[in-house]
Amino acid sequence: MAKQLYYEDVEEGMEIPPLVKNPTTQQLVKWAGASGDYYQIHYDKDFAQSTGLPGVIAHGRLKSSFLAQLMTDWIGEGGTLKKISVQHRGMDLAGEQMTCKGRVTRKYIENGEHLVECEIWTENPRGEKTAPGSAIVSLLSRGGKS
């Protein structure tokens, strides 16, 4: 577990430590079982190609879940993920590296909560953002509770 992040450590514009994922077909099958999403384009290459796709592609919601992990890894146990929004823009082929990235866009205190807004996204090996989104987290403050 990463060390605890505090509100005072965060500055607007700072980058969130990237989270690198390599979703293999095996991982997509595990996700299918865990999530209950058995659409065949995510594990059956022949089926995927018969629909015009180049191959098996990652579930959009697996990518959203990776981005949630990017945030929970970063904020530590004391922080809370309040809101996450992800758009399914591009597809990611199984076996291709996917890097989850983020950047702080705003920090503010509201109703006593120390909040941080971030832009987040997944990136393929060609540097294309396949799932852009945003997140709001509340963080611990060195001055007291979040």
């Binding site: 577990m1 994922k21 991982q27 595990k30 996700w31 079982g33 865990a34 999530s35 209950g36 999403d37 959009g60 919601r61 697996l62 959203s64 879940s65 990776f66 949630a68 992990q69 929970t72 890894d73 146990e77 004391g78 809370t80 993920l81 309040k82 809101k83 996450i84 929004s85 992800v86 758009q87 399914h88 989104g133």
Partner: protein, 152 residues
């Protein structure tokens, strides 16, 4: 807004706000472990009993992705209609209001929140937003999600 030639029919508009079929999900530790393994997410809050007990949660919690993104399915029993043959998921937005603890029983109910139509590169497109409210066994709202489906 409906206008002349709108693809959003009166019949479709009548479905806005109509609640779907409730889905009940028990947040079992085994399901949490399956999710954590599928995500390859080693966070001890999801799996390490001893660690989680000493945390502010006092026990195992589920990765936030468990709601909306998996299992507690969105849109069950909602009458989603579109004049177009092709459909894809546009995106998801989830607001988390309470932690999701192992042993919680979550009931989710969806409804169509809104329709939007837009002219795309390949012709008209319909955006349907499904809103889902998730409540725990104490009738507390733990999360609200908004998922957009695109048909064209």
């Amino acid at each position: 807004m409906a206008q002349q030639g709108s693809i959003i029919t009166d019949e479709m508009k009548k479905q806005i706000g109509v609640k779907g079929v409730p889905t009940v999900l028990e947040v079992e530790k085994g399901l949490i472990r399956m999710m954590a393994e599928a995500l390859d997410d080693p966070n001890p809050l999801w799996q390490d009993e001893e660690y989680a007990e000493k945390s502010k949660y006092g026990g195992i919690i589920a990765p936030p992705a468990l709601l909306c993104c998996a299992r507690a399915g969105t849109g069950r029993g909602v009458q989603m209609k579109s004049p177009f043959p092709r459909a894809l998921a546009g995106g998801d937005e989830v607001e988390y209001l309470k932690p999701l603890k192992a042993g919680d029983v979550i009931t989710s109910v969806s409804h169509i929140a809104e329709y939007n139509e837009r002219e795309g590169k390949r012709g008209p497109m319909l955006f349907t937003t499904i809103e889902t409210t998730y409540k725990n066994q104490r009738d507390e709202v733990v999360a609200i999600s908004r998922s957009t489906f695109i048909s064209y």
